[in-house]
Amino acid sequence: MKIHLLVNGEPREWECEVHEFLTEALRRHGLVGTKRGCEDGACGACAVLLDGREVPSCIVLAAQADGHEITTIEGLGDPRHVHPIQAAFVAATAVQCGFCTPGMVVATKELLDHNPTPSAADARRRLAGHYCRCTGQIKPIQAVLDAAERVKGAQT
């Protein structure tokens, strides 16, 4: 089947299998920053924004994205334009193996879009669906709070 969607701001027309999940469709089109961690909706490694809301793309069918807007990690920054959230994760050494990081960055984006001044408790709640075995979550929590400052700074 054919689906039409907006991926990182670009209109796309993709040929998909009816049973294909969004993670697969994205990765098949070269967007491999979206990871396969559990393929079960539990770990958050595959997080993308669907119309600005975070979803686990491993349990969203590609067909369900038809007519919607998808933002992946690749849409948040590139080597020349580092997104302040990414800069915050790097500065806090919140990136160890980095497999969970794209999902966390995407989650932070959604959080800050809706709540520009999160508390530590907000940051914890937001990251809770993102399993990270390397960092113990301590530095990612700090990174989210620092990211809020940086995003604010970038806007003013």
């Binding site: 990871k35 559990c38 050494t93 980095g98 301590i138």
Partner: protein, 800 residues
């Protein structure tokens, strides 16, 4: 092998002042790979797609113990898209161990690519390769297997019962001299030091208690995965998420019976390992498919397959016995371990050796005894897991130390202080507990455990301990533990590095050391930059590719900074010497001679005492194109008989809801002496990550089986690892010390944090409730039950 302890060992205390002169080491440099990972550009194994790639799916054993009578794959092979089906009938049968250890591996050779007898639910039966993963999965259902179901062994005690089913009855399996497959014994050891019985006889108090610790799964973010293909020279390329690329190449060559020089193992970015990827777990299968079909092949485990069929932490039953004098002086310690390795004996000996080796020597005693059996069962397979026996052993020892202190009426902290090992002391058991053989002797040089205790104690507010709430439904408690680990495997681990100079004064650094998220690419680059007196960005690192980097044993045993880092330093020192010589030669030709010894390296240039300088770029251009033409480059290898332990003191404050049994960890303090922290934030990150992994061990992680040995909690919904909502407020204190044996004074930091939370939390809960738990995890159910029992007993007492 007995290496004498050098007489001139200093404890390194006066070398601490060198730290402040470091330019790159000891600073929180931006990690060399962080940005690309945060942007999703990090290239993991799965991030490539090759034309014509075949997808593999596994058929796993549904039985805990069964002989395969027949296997019929004809219907599966006829399914659309199926290219081949591999099973025991069409692959070679060479015994090996999946344990990615040095050669010869001290683990039993008890596995084959496919077994004829399956030994746990989740064992390999067959593998389908098809054009797509969906087609491969569909074909699995068409494989017909006839099993002769055998009686399973589902408990380690049962494995030792006379007449127990023999799990490894195949004639080919073999191991070290204590290997006894006829009695389900994968490994055994008995060690005595001093006159143990006499020491116990003299003790004022002898206490013995039994502890038990559960299965734990690594839960790496990235599952096990390998992609293989033939390159244009028909060589086999194996792109695999591994901690041990060189062991992988060596073991693959043997079991595939394919020349080693025609295999290239490449480690791309790895999404966490923690020991789980110190196994040659799956790359043999895509490799076989590629060799037979000539096509690229991919095998990636699902999360459920990860949980059931990869590797785990060895569950153990530990009996700890101490003899102690009334004043708190320990005289004798005895540890007996019964460990469960599951169906195969990966790391069966050495994990358990470390259970004793990391724990017992922390406290001085006149005599020690260690007795261990690791048994086979028809349960999931254990293996290497960050901490490597330490987390198990410290649960027993550090809970036990609290129990002894309580019996003696001593402060648990002061009791420990009195007996702790310190600078200049010998590790009494180092020789007896080597890596499958006698180990080299160890004398402690750097050791800041007492300062770790001081600072941790202040940070947690230990002195509030007596005033914490001890009435009402919510109870608070504070607990602690003292820890020690190792830095590499002495006399075994070896790392090497190669460095060469470029025209812009940058350097290519090639290392066998394997960054799996540990930060070693950054840390090794820092060591190189420091030695060569350049900023970090002038070092271009490339790691772990058996074609293009020199050898390294791999990312395990807390060895990378300490062992591989020293190799990098040696290689860079060689380059530094060559730079001085080349500069002296350039000045000589200019008619202005000097001696290389008078020159020094600073800010990317070779400098004379009078301030004149030649930049590395100028030197490189000259040596490439003009005069005395050669490539400035060097290599270094490092192996050492020393294994300096990092030390730590962990403290936790917990809140226990006696009505629900739920434990909340409010605050955690980890004070660690890891020598000089090369990258302090990374040392904190290692500590925080290691502690949180073991918070799961303490509180929520366990394997639950049905009575046929099937793992019931094989999803993340049911296997609970700590999330951001569970982790406590955290303080990491890096207590500085200088380790003379390590590069720039560094010791290891990666494994020691996993040792602490089990006992620290159990001790805090004991303090809160007055109930001693001797088995992990401390689930709400377990806590609530124990509380009710205690309440009932109290009521009976008041009634009586």
């Amino acid at each position: 092998m007995s290496t004498p302890i050098p007489p001139n060992w200093d404890t390194g205390a006066d070398s601490l002042d060198r730290i402040d002169s470091y330019q790159v080491v000891g600073r929180n440099e931006t990690r060399v790979d962080a940005l690309k990972l945060a942007q999703g550009r990090g290239s993991f194994t799965d991030d490539i797609d090759l034309p014509g790639m075949l997808h593999l799916k596994m058929l796993w054993s549904p039985h805990a113990h069964a002989r395969i009578r027949s296997i019929d794959t004809s219907a599966a092979e006829a399914m659309p898209g199926v290219v081949m089906v591999l099973h025991h009938g069409n692959v070679s049968r060479i015994p090996y161990t999946t344990a990615g250890q040095g050669h010869p591996e001290p683990s039993p050779y008890d596995q084959f690519i496919f077994p004829r007898k399956v030994r746990f639910v989740g064992d390999r039966v067959a593998c389908v390769a098809a054009e797509s993963a969906v087609q491969a999965a569909r074909a699995l259902a068409k494989i017909r297997v006839e099993y002769e179901v055998l009686e399973p062994v589902l408990d380690p005690h049962d494995a030792l019962r006379p007449g127990a089913p023999v799990i490894h009855d195949e004639p080919e399996a073999f191991g070290l001299p204590d290997y006894d497959k006829a009695h389900n014994i994968a490994a055994a050891m008995h060690v005595e030091h001093g006159d143990v019985d006499a020491a116990f006889a003299e003790a004022d108090l002898v206490l013995e208690r039994e502890y038990s610790v559960p299965y734990q799964h690594h839960a790496t973010a990235e599952p096990h995965i390998a992609i293989t293909w033939l390159d244009e020279d028909q060589r086999l390329v194996v792109r695999v998420a591994t901690q041990v690329p060189f062991h992988s190449r060596r073991i693959l060559a043997r079991i595939l019976d394919f020349p080693l020089h025609r295999i290239r193992v490449v480690k791309p970015r790895v999404g966490g390992g923690f020991g789980g990827k110190q196994e040659i777990l799956l790359e043999d299968l895509p490799a076989l498919v590629t060799l037979r079909s000539g096509r690229p092949a991919r095998l990636c485990l699902t999360r459920a397959e990860e949980l059931a069929s990869s590797r785990t932490r060895h569950p153990q039953i530990l009996s700890w016995k101490t003899g102690v004098m009334r004043d708190g002086t320990l005289v004798a310690q005895e540890l007996r371990v019964l460990a469960n390795t599951g169906a195969y004996g990966a790391h069966a000996l050495t994990v358990q050796t470390c259970t004793a080796g990391k724990t017992l020597p922390l406290y001085k005693a006149r005599a020690y005894r260690f007795d261990m059996k690791t048994v086979y069962t028809n349960l999931p397979v254990a293996g290497a897991f960050r901490g490597y026996g330490g987390p198990q052993g410290f649960v027993a020892m550090e809970c036990h130390m609290d129990e002894v202190a309580e019996k003696l009426g001593l402060d648990p902290l002061e009791f420990r202080r009195r007996n702790l090992i310190g600078p200049g002391h010998d590790n009494a058991l180092a020789q007896a507990l080597g890596e499958g053989k006698e180990g080299p002797p160890q004398r402690i040089r750097s050791c800041a455990i007492q300062e770790c205790i001081d600072r941790g104690k202040a940070a947690i507010g230990w002195d509030r301990r007596d005033r914490l709430r001890s009435t009402g439904p919510i109870r608070r408690g504070i607990g602690m533990s003292c820890l020690m680990h190792g830095s590499g495997i002495p006399g075994v681990d070896m790392g090497s590095a190669h460095v060469k100079l470029n025209e812009d004064g940058s350097f290519n650094l090639h290392v066998g050391a394997t960054d799996i998220g540990t930060g070693s690419d950054t840390i090794l680059s820092q060591i190189a930059a420091e030695t060569l007196a350049v900023p970090l960005e002038k070092v271009v690192i490339y790691s772990s590719d058996t074609d293009h980097t020199p050898f390294d044993t791999g990312a395990y045993a807390s060895s990378t900074t300490f062992v591989s880092g020293a190799a990098v330093k040696k290689a860079c020192e060689g380059v530094a010497r060559q730079l001085r010589e080349a500069a002296a030669e350039m000045w000589r030709v200019e008619g202005d001679p000097c001696t290389p010894e008078d020159l020094h390296l600073e800010r990317g240039a070779v400098r004379r005492p009078d301030g004149r300088s030649l930049s590395y770029g100028e030197i490189c251009l000259s040596t490439f194109y003009t005069h005395d033409q050669h490539q400035i480059m060097d290599h270094g290898s490092h192996m050492t008989f020393e294994c300096p332990p990092p030390f730590a003191a962990h403290f936790a404050e917990v809140e226990v809801d006696t009505e629900t049994g739920a434990i909340r960890v409010l605050r955690y303090v980890a004070a660690v002496d890891c020598g000089v922290p090369i990258h302090p934030q990374s040392c904190e990150g290692q500590t925080e990550g290691g502690v949180c992994t073991s918070l799961g061990y303490a509180l929520s992680e366990d394997f639950i089986f049905n009575d046929a040995g099937r793992l019931l909690n094989d999803t993340y919904e049911d296997y609970k690892i700590p999330t951001a909502l569970d982790v406590p407020e955290f303080e990491t204190i890096l207590v500085r010390s200088y380790e003379p044996a390590g590069p720039y004074g560094a010791k290891s930091v990666s494994e020691i944090p996993t040792d602490g939370p089990g006992p620290t939390i159990a001790n805090a809960v004991a303090h809160a409730l007055g109930i001693r738990f001797r088995s992990l995890p401390l689930t709400p159910e377990k806590v609530r039950k124990a509380w009710l029992k205690k309440e009932e007993a109290r009521q009976r007492e008041t009634e009586a």
